[in-house]
């Protein structure tokens, strides 16, 4: 598989602005994934070279991140293995404040000499740019944690699972899809291990071992005589878990409407591929939707992307302040709306939380990339906007004195900046199932899985598609629909939320490829929710002929 093909494949359905940079790194043999890497004591000594050099050159603050990134990707198509890729990337990134201005440099030469040179470069950049800096950088205080460590709580390390087992699983899923009517099927496993060491002049030395996993596929059904095709993607989520996610536990399965199978903390890829193939064929003859107002019942693997775009991004303080104005944009959720204390972001049942500690999520870490211990906090409570997402050099601008701990860099050679934590919709308090939700709807559409997504540069007007759509009439599913997309604006949409299923339906959506910044960086993030209902949403018909 060529890089262009990989990028196209990896971009499929991801809640992202731009392309991934996951393939950065050197190809290595599979067994090299198990090599332990640099000892923590040596990393501490190397980090101290950076911190001491920075201080000797006049920096008032410095941090060093020594990163080792081990990735494995397995790609298959029908009955063929397209590629198995193992990569390693290792180096150090040094960030300083000198003359009140940030400077950053990185090197893959993790030696005393290499680190010293990179630190000198970071300080020189800070000093050169301080001439056009208007106000000195102001950092919120942070505790010195000393020498601490954190690890994603995994049960099965992907690096210890034989490649043959992974290949067998993907080919089994492909075979199931082909046997059930698919004409083509692509499948892949993305496996990530970030071994990150952070040290700063504040007195922390933090060693973290982070794991992420993403199984995915796309099946295609074709009507050759008509020259038409339809696709159906997986119902899995990328997760902050080990390979145990692939166990397909019955206890973690949920029954969706019309034979749909949904998954919580464990994924049955072969079963999902089987259902997907049947649904892809069904889509070829599904009824084209009549445009109009519908009550929408949105499944969590679909709603996650809507949360990502209409809540996660607009509540990033760097966007609110204008730092992303030239690229990802700004935000309608301005500072005055927060300060008012009564901005109605959603209806009373809407509670949205940011959480960097959520087990199984992509964004879970013990400490962020500037040494702040992670936490959970409210963004919207009972429909009212209550907070943003901020990092150390921003919180003073919203009259707060503690970072929210959501600073992240995609690699050791990229500068860290504010990234979205896991942002999730809290489940409803009363016991309420998917079937009960549908039973309440007179004219509506049930939408599952992610699809097309687009939102304006202030995160207001949006349009979303989905993977599968079912028409609801008088409390019952009456058939599959196609050509469905809904349009709304953020505030109207969240204020139209009338009901949310309880905790038993709660699931995580996620993306590996949330893009932001210049040069652009990717980060991985999850969004949890239970199935929720939104009344009177505008649905358009996207069918065209060319």
């Amino acid at each position: 598989m060529k890089r262009r093909d990989f990028v196209q494949y990896a971009g499929l359905g991801a809640g992202a602005l731009m392309m991934p940079s996951l393939l950065l790194g050197k190809d290595i043999p599979t067994e090299a994934l198990l090599e332990p890497g640099m000892d923590a004591l040596i990393k501490k000594n190397m980090a101290d070279v950076a911190l001491n050099t920075a201080k000797s050159l006049g920096a008032t603050y410095a941090d060093a991140r020594i990163g080792r990134y081990l990735n494995q990707y397995v790609f298959t198509r029908e009955d063929k293995v397209q590629n198995v890729v193992n990569t390693e990337s290792f180096g150090i990134g040094i960030r300083v404040i000198a003359n009140g201005t940030w400077g950053f440099a990185s090197t893959n030469s993790v030696t005393a000499d290499g680190i010293k040179k990179a630190t000198e470069q970071a300080v020189a950049i800070a000093k050169a740019n301080s001439k056009i800096q208007k106000e000195p950088v102001k950092l919120a205080p942070v505790n010195a944690y000393g020498e601490v460590s954190w690890k994603t709580p995994i049960k099965k390390d992907f690096k210890e699972v034989p490649v043959s087992e992974k290949v067998d699983l993907l080919l089994s899923a492909n075979a199931a899809a082909l046997e059930n009517g698919a004409d083509y099927v692509n499948s892949a496993l993305f496996m990530i291990n970030e071994q990150k060491y952070f040290a700063s002049t504040d007195g922390s030395y933090i060693d973290q071992d982070i794991h992420r996993l993403w199984p995915t596929f796309r099946v295609t059904a074709i009507d050759k005589s008509a020259g038409t095709f339809k696709t159906r993607e997986n119902m899995s989520a990328p997760v902050g878990m080990g390979y145990e996610y692939m166990d397909g536990l019955e206890s973690e399965k949920l029954e969706g409407p019309a034979g749909l199978r949904l998954y919580r903390n464990s994924y049955d890829m072969v079963e999902d591929a089987t259902v997907a193939a049947k649904q892809a064929k069904e889509k070829l003859t599904a009824k084209s939707v009549d445009a109009g107002k519908y009550d929408l019942v949105l499944e969590p693997n679909h709603l996650g992307l809507t949360i990502h775009e209409s809540v996660g991004h607009p509540l990033e303080l760097d966007r609110v302040l204008g730092y992303e104005a030239n690229y990802a944009g700004t935000s309608f959720a301005s500072l005055d709306k927060l300060k008012s204390g009564n901005f109605k972001y959603g209806s009373d049942v809407v509670n949205l939380v940011a959480d960097k500690t959520q087990v199984g999520s992509l964004g879970a870490v013990g400490y962020d990339d500037e040494g702040v211990k992670t936490k959970k906090w409210d963004l919207v409570r009972n429909g009212i906007l209550t907070n943003f997402q901020a990092i150390r050099d921003q919180v003073h601008m919203i009259d707060q004195n503690e970072s929210h701990g959501c600073c992240y860099a995609q690699s050791w050679d990229d500068v860290q900046f504010q990234r979205m934590p896991n942002v999730s919709l809290e489940p409803g308090k009363d016991k309420y199932s998917i079937s009960e939700m549908i039973k309440d709807v007179e004219k509506g559409i049930y939408i599952a899985g992610r699809g097309s997504y687009s939102i304006d540069q202030q995160r207001y007007n949006f349009q979303f598609g989905g993977t599968v759509f079912y028409e609801i009439k008088n409390g019952e599913i009456v058939g599959m629909l196609e050509d469905v997309a809904y349009q709304s604006n953020t505030q109207e949409f969240w204020n139209s939320c009338v009901k949310i299923c309880d905790e038993s339906d709660y699931r995580l959506f996620g993306t590996f490829f949330d893009g932001k910044g210049q040069p652009s960086q990717s980060s991985a993030v999850s969004h949890g929710s239970s199935t929720a209902r939104f009344n009177d949403v505008n649905v358009i018909n996207t069918g065209r002929s060319i």
Partner: protein, 438 residues
């Protein structure tokens, strides 16, 4: 890091190849220096410099291949990386689509390198930022911009006698100017291989003027409008269409280029007969490397001529399957334009919308190549040949195929993201809702 000359690169590659014991071996060597500055809120935010080089060896025994990379180029390291690639090849499964490396090829000399771009300094980057920030401050506007420059090389060799080398430089600049009352926004994008063509003052003033002109936009009803698309607005839609010109997807029935009964649309007229799109690595405005990553020569190639699909991209495997010559994917897109300036296009428009750029474009339906997205940073209502007032941004749902069938007028070409795209006037462009975003 040094940008290796052709002879320096050849020496390293030949040495590495001399260690190969595989049936076939292909080695790529590349490196770059890249610097950037980012600013927002009329002050600098981040800035950095990166440099890297890498050598990748692909060794093959029969249809089994392995790849290994390294960034040290002494003899022992080169031998080590070749051995590792061979070990991996022996462990790998057979690839039924494996293609033998190409033999020696003839390449045109590329024109992608400019010494002046390679010599850009941190001071120059700060000066470009200042040229945005100072005039923005003076006009009650806030600047947010990004400048990235790079110089690099790539080279490859293989066991069949192929050798290729290219040096290139690039500069990319964008700036968004937002009026301080929050009601206006303007933007420009500039990119060049040669920095001497870049005028930072002109770019900044264009964005500032547009921001001020777009203040206090009025809402008008969404619907079908005649639009004048600036090249930055249409480029993304056209690029998405271009990326879909893959023969294999078309033949397999999963592309907008697929036709009934298992055929593809090669040779069919799919858009207005005035539309002609080609690629040319030696175009002096948008030069690219004259070979691709597989060592295939890149030549001037027509893709759509007078509205008819002239070529689809065939990779080497699919070309063999279909019994045709391979056609490599293009590295730039050049759409033939007309003589009309933007001013002339506006003057000839009775009622219409001028669009600066489109944003967050995503595929809605690959079957019809339908995309959605929004206008951004300067959208204006035209009446009787004049810009009357700024209008609020729209969401669109449109296919570039439908758009190019609704062509009214082609204007002058402009370089955008390494491509040459003309201004275009299009009738019945579909806006489906309004956005309050500025």
């Amino acid at each position: 890091m040094a940008i290796y000359t052709k002879e320096e690169a050849r020496k390293i590659l030949e040495k590495a190849l001399s260690f190969s014991k595989a049936d076939a071996c292909e080695i790529n060597l590349s490196g770059y220096n890249s610097g950037n500055i980012r600013y927002a809120r009329n002050t600098v935010s981040t800035s950095g410099f990166s440099s890297n080089q890498s050598l990748a060896v692909q060794s093959s025994f029969g249809k089994k291949s392995g790849t290994a990379t390294i960034d040290e180029f002494d003899d022992a390291s080169l031998e080590k990386v070749v051995r590792r690639a061979e070990e991996l090849a022996n462990l790998s499964p057979e690839n039924p689509e494996f293609m033998e490396p190409l033999g020696p090829q003839m390449y045109d000399e590329s024109i992608t390198y400019s010494e002046s771009t390679a010599n850009i300094t941190p001071e120059y980057r700060a000066e470009v930022s200042s040229k945005s920030i100072v005039p923005a401050d003076a006009k009650d506007v806030t600047a947010a911009g990004f400048l990235n420059d790079s110089a690099g090389f790539s080279a490859m060799i293989n066991s069949k006698g192929l050798f290729a080398y290219n040096q290139s430089t690039d500069l990319e600049f964008t700036v968004t100017m937002r009026t301080n009352d929050g009601t206006g926004s303007g933007w420009v994008s500039r990119d060049f291989n040669d920095v001497s063509k870049f005028d930072a003052d002109e770019a900044a003033m264009t964005a500032i003027d547009k921001a001020i002109l777009s203040k206090e936009a009025k809402a008008i009803e969404p619907g079908k409008y005649t639009v004048i698309l600036e090249p930055a607005a249409s480029a993304d839609l056209l690029r998405n269409m271009f990326r879909s010109l893959d023969a294999r997807s078309a033949d397999e029935g999963r592309s907008f280029m697929s036709a009934a009964d298992g055929k593809n649309k090669l040779g069919q007229k799919i858009v207005d007969e005035r539309v002609s799109i080609y690629s040319d690595p030696l175009n002096t405005e948008v030069p690219t490397s004259t070979w691709n990553g597989e060592g295939q020569p890149l030549k001037k190639t027509s893709w759509i001529e007078n509205g008819v699909v002239k070529n689809l991209a065939y990779d080497r495997f699919w070309a063999k399957e279909k019994g045709v010559e391979p056609v490599p994917f293009p590295s730039n897109a050049i759409m033939a334009g007309g003589d009309a300036s933007l001013e002339e296009l506006i003057k000839s428009t009775k009622k219409g919308i001028l669009v600066t750029r489109l944003w967050y474009i995503r595929s809605v339906d690959p079957q019809t190549l339908l995309y959605t997205g929004l206008t951004r940073d300067g959208t204006f209502y035209i009446e009787n040949g004049e810009i009357k007032y700024p209008v609020k941004n729209f969401r669109f749902n449109e296919s570039p195929i439908i758009m190019l069938n609704n062509l009214e007028t082609l204007g002058k070409q402009v370089r955008i993201d390494g491509n040459l795209i003309p201004y275009m006037k299009i009738r019945d462009f579909t806006f489906t809702s309004l956005s309050d975003a500025v």
